[in-house]
Symmetry: C2
Subunit: 246 residues, 2 copies
């Protein structure tokens, strides 16, 4: 391999191209981000987003998915490209531009993926200084996430199949960094028409409380669970201009 040091030659200089992934996960209380610790220079030991060099026979998205699988064993359903970073000096080795993606994963997808490698989840407020310009990339990712939530019901990608209304509310609050009134939040979400009550709610309500006595900690007659209506949900996610108010 080392004898191929100048194997690829071009008439004009070419920058190197990488991809990086900002992966978000919701732990029920706040947003978390996945970082990997660099094992080599530059920035050896520093934390960075998973990613790597683009190969010639793959698209950037394929590259991002491949690197993510290799480094964190994650395979998100949907990657969203949000920006390409091209500052001349952003990598000390050579000219490197990076195409950045973000993705949202359920907590249940994650278990087992993060123990083997040097990957770790960090709470949003607990993020160390990152390698390269990844601090900047991260800020841009957060902005992109907030923008996206205006157009698409992003949240459900981050929650389990069944969730409570307070769960959903906490998620929105932690992404947008604001507080909502419980009742108004629920009203707004419900009238989007993409939620339905979980069937398990009725059982609990009709039978004597606690009689079911399985998953839940004790026999609670309240504590409603919701799920999204897949068909409506997909419609909403696809429909780009479902919010027309210029």
């Amino acid at each position: 391999m080392s004898e191929k040091e100048t194997a690829y030659s071009y008439k004009h200089p070419h920058p190197a191209v990488t991809t990086d992934c900002v992966i978000f996960c919701f732990d029920g209380k706040e947003l978390n981000v996945l970082l990997v610790q660099r094992g080599v220079e530059p920035f050896k030991g520093a934390w960075a987003f998973p990613g790597g060099f683009l190969k010639m026979d793959e698209s950037a998205e394929q590259c991002a998915l491949r690197e993510l699988k290799e480094e964190t064993d994650l395979t998100p359903e949907h990657l969203e490209q949000f920006h390409t970073f091209t500052e001349v000096d952003r990598d000390p080795r050579e000219r490197v531009i990076t195409i950045a993606y973000f993705a949202l994963v359920k907590k249940s997808e994650v278990i087992g993926g993060d123990d083997a490698s040097e990957a770790r989840w960090f709470k949003l407020n607990d993020i160390p200084r990152l390698a390269f310009d990844h601090d900047y990339i991260f800020r841009k990712a957060l902005i992109a996430l907030k923008e996206k939530i205006h157009f698409e019901p992003i949240g459900f990608d981050l929650l389990e199949e069944e969730f409570s209304m307070p769960d959903l509310q906490r998620l929105y609050e932690s992404i947008l960094g604001v507080k909502f009134d419980r009742r108004n939040f629920q009203k707004k979400i419900i009238q989007l028409g993409i939620l339905e009550e979980s069937p398990s709610n009725e059982k609990k309500a009709s039978s004597a409380q606690g009689s079911k006595g399985e998953g839940v900690k004790s026999g609670r007659s309240k504590n409603k669970k919701w799920r999204f209506i897949p068909q409506k949900y997909e419609e909403m996610k696809t429909l780009k201009n479902f919010r027309l108010e210029f």
Copy 2:
């Protein structure tokens, strides 16, 4: 120069990197897009977006601005990166990824820029088949433009300093592809607080009609002109989360 054919060598293969610009302009009736005719193969003679190869000492945005100046003599105030296209086969010559930008320019900025070169404005409904994957890039640019208009008062970048309310409405309608009620549109826009009446309105109203008799075709006492309040306008453009309704 020709002896430097293999002057740039890398251990691993690098794709070439280009930028492309989708430039929009509003002619008072509908949106137009700026295209240049290719003078060389591949796709010689076909229309494409202005753009070119990234140099090693410039950021992608600088590259886009430089190519735009060279090919169309335009210098937009603000370029917005919206997507990077990386399909493996998108360029028949070699592996090329392109970082795409869009920009909005006033019609008055354009005059004189398009006659010397092979650049031309095309109405949105009148666009020929484009070189490379530029048809696809164009579709993505339109979507990005529509999204942007939800967050920022994009329109004024496309209008002259003074404009009538119907002008502004036509612009919004042509971007979003919908029709609005005149009165409701005006109400909504005005209460954003970024518009003020042109001083020239009062003159016309108080003096006998036609007495001024200069620019306008005849002495019209009506036909109000508006301008935006620069300070408020900039606030709005900067403020990312001015629309919080999840």
